[in-house]
Every structure is written in structure tokens, then in C-alpha cells.
């Protein structure tokens, strides 16, 4: 069982960006169509921005304001599928026996975005990059809590997925559109308190449907308990008064 404060959060999906957008979406969810749009990230100098993938941009766009320029905050990057766009392009190169782009290769590794965050924000502390199953979000929060347990006063957790190439249809069924959720969490901050507990799932695993991290955004708005069964695990999120 984990108790933590969610001191700030930001999220992005195509057409849903600021707090008002998310409040409206939480009240009345609507289908989201991914047309490849991405945040401008014009707070990043052009020479650095050119190396930000779409996935990296949505991460920077949401996480950036959660970290002050004068503080060091541990960073947890979580993505089940990672840089599928880079991976698919490289598989295509390999199929054509063409040499791989060194830049693409370097930026395709799972901790590349955490590395870019570290460089762009001057963060010299811990950073973690994880990939899990459908409960990647919960595992990321467990990871962040471990960092808080080691003495960090706050941690940033970002879960992000990019709509993959058509070729992944039938293989990736839980990313209907690109999205990211960034949280700033602590053990003793001023934000709303939430309890995450893990039990055994004895029922079936539900179909993928809506991205789980976005269900959590709705729970945040409504202050409502959220259940997340996956295989043998059953995660429960509860607001604590």
C-alpha cells in the first residue's frame, strides 16, 4: 500500500491540453482522433528541439512546468511501447538492408527521453525508464514512491504513449491515440492524497479500451475510487480525506 500526494499534474492528448480541456473531457469524454499533431515545445532551443521525437515533445510539454529551474527532482519515464515510430523506421531500414541512422538508433532506446530531460533541465539526480504491461502507470508510481522513500522531497512521473504505425494493428491494442500524463508526487506535499493498493485479481482482465492513465485523470477530477485489474494483479486507487 502506498500513500502519496499528487501535488500537480498535466496531461496531453490530441485536442485536449490545458486544465479546462481535461475538466471538460472528464465530465463528458469524447472520442479523440490522432492527426499527428504535437506541442510546439518552443521553450526548448531549436538546436535541441530538433532531436525531440513526437513522444519526447508530449513528455516535455507536460512535465516541463512541474519542475522548477532551481531544483533537482527525480524523474520516472514510463511507456509500455516506447518509441515505436523510431523502431518501425529502423526495422524498415533493416528490411531494405539500408544502414541505420545513428541519431534514430540513439533516440530509440527506452531511456532516451529521460536522458533528454536530464540534459535540457540540468537534472543530475536519479532518473528511471520503465516499460511494463497494461499497468505500467501503477508500476511507475511504485518506482516514484521508492525514490521518495529514499529521501527525495518530490518526484516526477510521466507515462506516455504514441499512436503506433498501422503495422502494429492487432499487436498494440491499448494506444487508440497519443497521450501523456505527468504527475508531481510527494509524501508530504500539499496536493490531494491518494492511496494505491495492490491485491490479487481473481476475475478476468478487461479489454484494453480507454488508456488507463486517462481513466485516472477522470478519477482525479471526480475524487472517485478507481479499480484496475490486470492478469493476476488488481490495483486500487482511493482518494484519502
Amino acid at each position: 500500500m502506498i500513500d502519496l500526494h499528487i501535488d500537480a499534474w498535466r496531461a496531453w492528448a490530441p485536442g485536449i491540453d490545458d486544465a479546462a480541456d481535461w475538466a471538460a473531457w472528464a465530465a463528458a469524454p469524447h472520442p479523440v482522433v490522432d492527426r499527428g499533431e504535437q506541442p510546439a515545445c518552443d521553450f526548448v532551443p531549436a538546436m535541441q528541439r530538433r532531436r525531440l521525437s513526437r513522444l519526447a515533445r508530449i513528455v516535455m510539454h507536460t512535465a516541463w512546468p512541474l519542475c522548477g529551474d532551481d531544483e533537482q527532482v527525480p524523474f520516472v519515464f514510463a511507456s509500455r511501447h516506447g518509441e515505436t515510430t523510431h523502431t518501425f523506421a529502423m526495422l524498415d531500414d533493416i528490411g531494405r538492408e539500408a544502414p541505420l541512422s545513428p541519431t534514430r538508433f540513439g533516440l530509440s532506446v527506452h531511456n532516451a527521453i529521460a536522458g533528454q530531460w536530464s540534459i535540457l533541465r540540468g537534472q543530475r539526480g536519479e532518473s528511471v525508464a520503465i516499460a511494463g504491461e497494461a499497468d505500467t502507470f501503477e508500476h511507475a508510481v511504485v518506482e516514484a514512491t521508492a525514490l521518495l522513500g529514499e529521501g527525495a522531497s518530490a518526484a516526477i512521473v510521466v507515462v506516455a504513449e504514441e499512436l503506433p504505425a498501422k503495422a502494429y494493428d492487432g499487436w498494440i491494442d491499448d494506444v487508440p491515440f497519443s497521450y501523456t500524463l505527468a504527475l508531481r508526487v510527494s509524501l508530504a506535499g500539499g496536493g490531494p492524497r491518494w492511496r494505491l493498493s495492490l491485491g490479487e485479481n481473481t476475475g478476468a482482465t478487461p479489454a484494453a479500451g480507454e488508456p488507463h492513465a486517462l481513466r485516472f485523470i477522470r478519477a482525479l477530477h471526480h475524487g472517485a475510487t478507481l479499480d484496475h485489474p490486470w492478469k493476476t494483479r488488481r490495483w486500487t486507487w482511493q482518494p484519502i480525506a
Partner: protein, 89 residues
């Protein structure tokens, strides 16, 4: 700037995603790396690959001359010309 130099400048912009620059923003004698345009070692690898694909240039990474050839757009153009395969498109 001659045609080959323009072609190389365009290749640099496209290959290295320098979307904020136009061909005329890269002077033929402007240093590409470090204090000049600001390219780094990853760019050097990427550019070597692009030059190989476009002009058939083979550039050994341990070549002592590579650093000199990669100094500016002009030095790259001279190198492409000297290699005698500048007609590729």
C-alpha cells in the same frame, strides 16, 4: 555559394532536422561543428551516412582527414568534387 555547396547545405538541413534554418543561413565557410553551426559528434555520424548515400563517399571514421573535410560546407564540397562523384542526385 555554388550549386554543389547549396546541395550540401540542403542535405545538412534535411538530414539533421535543422528546420529553423534555410540554405542561405549556412555560409560556405562557416564552421559546422562546435562554435559555428553547433553540430555535434552524433551529427557527424549522421552526416557521414547521408554523404555516403547521396554522393557515394566513403568516409572512414578513423580517417585523419575526416575532421578537415567536415569543417565547412565548402570543404565538404571540395571533398565531394575531388572524389569525382558529384553528379549523383
Amino acid at each position: 555559394m555554388n550549386d554543389l555547396e547549396r546541395d550540401i547545405a540542403r542535405l545538412i538541413i534535411e538530414t539533421l532536422a535543422l528546420e529553423h534554418l534555410g540554405v542561405d543561413d549556412i555560409a560556405p565557410d562557416q564552421p559546422l561543428f562546435g562554435q559555428g553551426l553547433g553540430l555535434d559528434s552524433v551529427d557527424a555520424l549522421e552526416l557521414a551516412l547521408a554523404l555516403q548515400n547521396r554522393y557515394g563517399l566513403k568516409i572512414a571514421s578513423d580517417s585523419r582527414d575526416a575532421r578537415r573535410h567536415f569543417e565547412t560546407v565548402r570543404s565538404l564540397a571540395l571533398y565531394v568534387q575531388a572524389s569525382g562523384s558529384a553528379c549523383a542526385s
